[in-house]
């Protein structure tokens, strides 16, 4: 059972455009929602995170939007750059455990 569903599986965005990745969760007990970025041959690295009592969090070009009633959250990357090309994972946590989404491969083209 996939507790965190992520879409799309892959995404191609033109340089300077907005990249949007969506996630939905089922367990209302989740209390922390991070996004991780993974480059080929490397481990995932924390990008940005949000708690469910906040509807939006922005750090530089990266913004998380959170809709508690819909049990959905999304990552927006503004002014997308070729260096943003990577695989992005949403995650949700309860107690000590992180549950990851299935990942989105983002490609930024010139």
């Amino acid at each position: 059972q996939q507790q965190v569903k992520q879409s799309p599986q892959s995404l191609i965005v033109q340089k300077g455009g907005i990249s949007i990745i969506n996630c939905a969760y089922e367990n209302t007990a989740f209390d922390y929602f991070p996004w991780y970025q993974q480059f080929p041959g490397k481990g995932p690295a924390l990008l940005i995170a949000i708690r469910p009592d906040v509807s939006e969090k922005k750090e530089g070009r990266f913004t998380i939007s959170f809709n508690k009633s819909a049990k959905q959250f999304s990552l927006h990357i503004m002014d997308s750059q070729p260096g943003d090309s990577a695989t992005y994972f949403c995650a949700a946590s309860k107690n000590e455990k992180l549950t990851f989404g299935t990942g989105t491969r983002l490609t930024i083209i010139p």
Partner: protein, 114 residues
């Protein structure tokens, strides 16, 4: 200096063999994890240790046995390797065993079973 380091980076071996993967973190963190990433990039937690004590043990075959000699090290030993064990295994660490703590990942060990 690498914060979370895993060895080896690549491991190619025959079915039925026993192998170990080592992990060390120099961040002074109390909690360490093992994750498995399959060929479709799905990332799933296997184990978590806090101060050398097991706190998370997901549904993992008992052929997998983690060992934490001290809080800076968490090794993974796998017995009787099977084809389905082929994956990338990531070690991670965090300051505390709270999932709200950022987890720092190593660069992974790619295990290939022939």
């Amino acid at each position: 200096d690498t914060a979370v380091s895993q060895t080896p980076k690549y491991l190619v071996t025959q079915m039925g063999n026993d192998k170990s993967i080592k992990c060390e973190q120099n961040l002074g963190h109390d909690t360490m994890y093992w994750y498995k990433q399959d060929s479709k990039k799905f990332l799933k937690i296997m184990f978590s240790y806090n101060n050398k004590e097991l706190i998370i043990n997901e549904t993992v075959p008992n052929r997998f046995s983690p060992k934490s000699p001290d809080k800076a090290h968490l090794n993974l030993h796998i017995n009787s390797l099977e084809l389905g064990d082929s994956a990338v295994y990531f070690c991670a660490s965090s300051q505390e065993p709270l999932s709200s703590q950022p987890q720092h990942f190593g660069d992974g060990t790619r295990l290939s079973i022939l």
